[in-house]
Amino acid sequence: MMKNGVNSRLVKDKIFLSIVIFFSFLSILPLLFILFYIVKNGFGVLSLDFITQLPKPVGETGGGISNAIIGTFILIGIASILSMPLGIGIGIYLAENKSGKLPYIVRLCAEVLQGIPSIVIGIIAWIWIVVQIGSFSALSGGIALGMLMLPIIVRSTEETLKLIPTSLKEASLALGVPYYRTILKVVLPTGISGIVTGILLSISRVAGETAPLLFTAFGSPYMNTNIMKPVNSLPALIFNYATSPYEDWLSAAWGASLVLVLLVLILNFIAKVVTKKWKVQF
């Protein structure tokens, strides 16, 4: 009787464990399929020319997506320059002021901003910047992506800094170090790994955003480094090529997808390394 009871519980244990393992495995499958598909269709296209050459007109073979790669970097660059100082600044403010009306409102706004669909952000950027300037531009695209990055950076900075013990801040203040230097020289360096990881993840999150770019950076068949002009980007190129009827463009879209996925994977990998290597023990 006793023995039976134990056995049946052990069996239940085993069944439960196998179900959990099965579900975990199931969650990896979509990613594996996507990677398999993209590599299968995109790898053949990939070459040095593909990433260094400009697109060729329909009908001509060869050509690459260099303008889209450069464009994506420009957009991410503009977005980062705008959202990093702002996001880290707001994150510091929220971590330092846990209660109060203004921190509450700011925190709420960041949460709501994070929930706004990217296409709505695109429309806002279109109205605010594209319409005002009178032309699609890399700048407006960068601002749209920056607005998407901002709440992610704010939250990750706040969460990271909240974990830093107060005793560390007091140690610095007790040495007569002014408050701003304490934040800059003690608190920020201690939380650097969490902050950088948050930034990298926010970049990898927006690198593939297409919707807001359609209204803002628009896309361009040419190489452009002027931020006041339309610029191509990997997601926009994929969107345009994948919806075209041309065989060449379809395979180029697969190649561009592979480049984009690799970019995101590399960013995630760097984020993992940063978390591990720069982690500060306290």
């Binding site: 007091e170 140690a171 610095s172 040495l175 170090v177 230097r181």
Partner: protein, 252 residues
């Protein structure tokens, strides 16, 4: 009594409506160890946090009265300058985790942006670590992170960090409460050696510790300074009945 380095006059402090310290008047003699003891919540920590003006960093705090350092009212100075003259060591060792042992010792200079040359830096680091009785243990790996040290060593590193600024007064807030008996003994020995160089104000809830290492003892009870005198007198012939009861373990 020797000439006082620090004088507290009619000092009151509290959090919001809750008054913690009630009309404290006392003087700390130069280069002596003064222990402040009393039961939990009596305001010991608040008192020393008022001395280096850390108390006011907590929101909703109040304070009134005067604290004089060599006739200079600390509450009329910039708190930043006050804290550079009055060092503090906390309950839990808190070396800066991003810095090496070496950088931790000169953190007061580094973080304040005070430029000093390499020779002076080396000298300050060696002197401070020697004063804190840590030099022999760490001199071969000064550039390793301070957080790799044991708890007791970390606390001595924090003492070295405070001493490096050449403070007039060193505040120790229950510096051994998070340490094991061996590390505690080491710190106590260090405190007794330091009293020729700096005035030490030690907060402790350990009566025996106050008796062992202090020259003067103050007994604080419910925010009131009940008795203050030489440790020998306070422990042998206390004037106040409450002191006597506390020392004999009737409360606390």
């Amino acid at each position: 009594m020797e000439s006082p380095v620090l004088t507290i006059k009619n000092f009151c402090a509290g959090f919001g409506d809750h008054q913690i310290l009630k009309d404290i008047n006392m003087s700390f003699p130069t280069n002596m160890v003064t222990a402040i003891m009393g039961p939990s919540g009596c305001g010991k920590t608040t008192l020393i946090r008022c001395i280096n003006r850390m108390h006011e960093l907590t929101p909703n705090t109040t304070s009134s009265g005067h604290i004089l350092l060599h006739d200079e009212d600390l509450y009329e100075l910039n708190p930043i300058n006050v804290r550079r003259k009055i060092g503090m060591v906390f309950q839990r060792p808190n070396p800066f985790p991003t810095m090496s042992i070496y950088d931790n010792v000169i953190a007061g200079y580094k973080l304040n942006g005070i430029k000093i040359n390499k020779i002076d830096k080396d000298r300050i680091v060696e002197e401070s670590l020697k004063k804190a009785a840590l030099w022999e243990e760490v001199k071969d790996f000064l550039h390793k992170k301070g957080t790799f040290l044991s708890g007791g060593q970390q606390q001595r590193l924090c003492i070295a960090r405070a001493l490096a600024m050449n403070p007039d007064v060193l505040l120790l807030d229950e510096p051994t409460s998070a340490l094991d008996p061996k590390a505690t003994a080491h710190i106590e020995e260090l405190i007794s050696e330091l009293n020729t160089m700096v005035t030490i104000i030690l907060v402790t809830h350990n009566i025996a510790q106050a008796a062992r290492i202090s020259d003067y003892t103050a007994f604080l009870f419910l925010g009131e300074l009940v008795e203050f005198g030489t440790t020998q007198k306070l422990f042998t012939v206390p004037e106040d009945k409450r002191t006597e009861e506390y020392l004999s373990g009737k409360f606390g």
